[in-house]
Symmetry: C2
Subunit: 199 residues, 2 copies
């Protein structure tokens, strides 16, 4: 791609290393960045370095944050007796957006996947078990994804926690609200049927 | 979004200012960036600032480059008698990828659009007309997009250049190679018919 010359090609290459950003999108982004005012571009570059340098794992729930403890864990109004286990900080954010969950979280940073060689020791399970030691926790809600890996992880965790004597629940799986039955896959339809509740 | 805390939210906000990057993608990218090794993240941030600071317009064809003159204009093997007029450096790149065009380019950085208030003075037309003064140019190929704006610009340029006595051509418009007739819009089908050539 010598027709763009050094710095532009370099930027395009760097951008296309990002997940989900192909060569074409990287090109579009690069030209956009170049066309922007200097201070705006500086803010973008700075936010990248600053975030990387200052972000660490919350010592309690393992989510990404920039303090010792994340805003949720350090909020005295959150209910510490209920822990929701999620795979990623993004999943945490998804539940936070509902504004209805008042408990705390635990972020695993992944799910067990024999296919990808990710075992129980590769995710933040030890940290979760340690949190249960205090005897304060009454319920662990497993909110891993409804994928093969998520289900495997959910099963594994529930078997691990049951001997401790803490209640373990799993978020419901079924037809999404607003979903059109005819467009929903068979596995989900059967799940929804199995999980039916009385009206 | 207080649940992510400062630096992460800041990065997400900066990323979502980029064109075509929504909140969700910005979040995904931000968490990816945070999870990467420090030096890799630094390379990304640096490439952004470096590109912005060092890129300028080629003094001849107006494309974005980091030297006085772009690699194409400064290549002695390119045919200076033919100028292809494109809207953006990305369009230039698209033609360069074919590897078959041996002439030089002129980048307008936009197209005439009365709707968006972009007139002939807002694109690099003056620079194109200046290049024709030398008498060296024999053909100007107009390769603006096949959109309303692109066509308007093509018409405008051709009327501007004809009095100078330089040959003006327009790239063909028609059915794309590999295109399925039934999926192609009517305007394109009619253009393809109008532009038919003898076999």
């Amino acid at each position: 791609m010598e027709y763009f010359s050094g710095h532009i090609t370099g930027l395009i290459e760097q951008l296309s290393l990002l997940p989900g950003i192909g060569r074409k999108t990287a090109q579009r982004l690069a030209f956009y960045i170049i066309s922007q005012p200097e201070d705006k571009v500086k803010r973008l570059a700075d936010s990248i370095t600053t975030a990387r340098m200052n972000v660490r794992y919350c010592r309690t729930c393992c989510t990404l944050t920039d303090a010792e403890e994340c805003p949720i864990c350090s909020n005295p109004r959150r209910d510490r007796t209920t822990i929701m286990v999620v795979e990623t900080p993004r999943d945490l954010a998804a539940y936070e957006k509902t504004g209805k969950y008042e408990g705390v979280y635990h972020v695993l940073h992944g799910a067990i996947s024999p296919m990808l060689g990710i075992g129980p020791d590769d995710i933040r399970l030890k940290e979760l078990m340690q949190r249960l030691q205090t005897g304060e926790v009454r319920e662990v809600i497993i909110a891993t994804n409804s994928s093969l890996e998520g289900e495997t992880t959910a099963m594994y965790i529930s078997r691990l926690i049951k001997p401790v004597g803490v209640k373990v629940t799993r978020i419901a799986s079924g037809v999404p609200v607003g979903g059109d039955l005819e467009n929903i896959d068979e596995v989900t339809l059967l799940r929804a049927l199995d999980g039916r509740t009385a009206l």
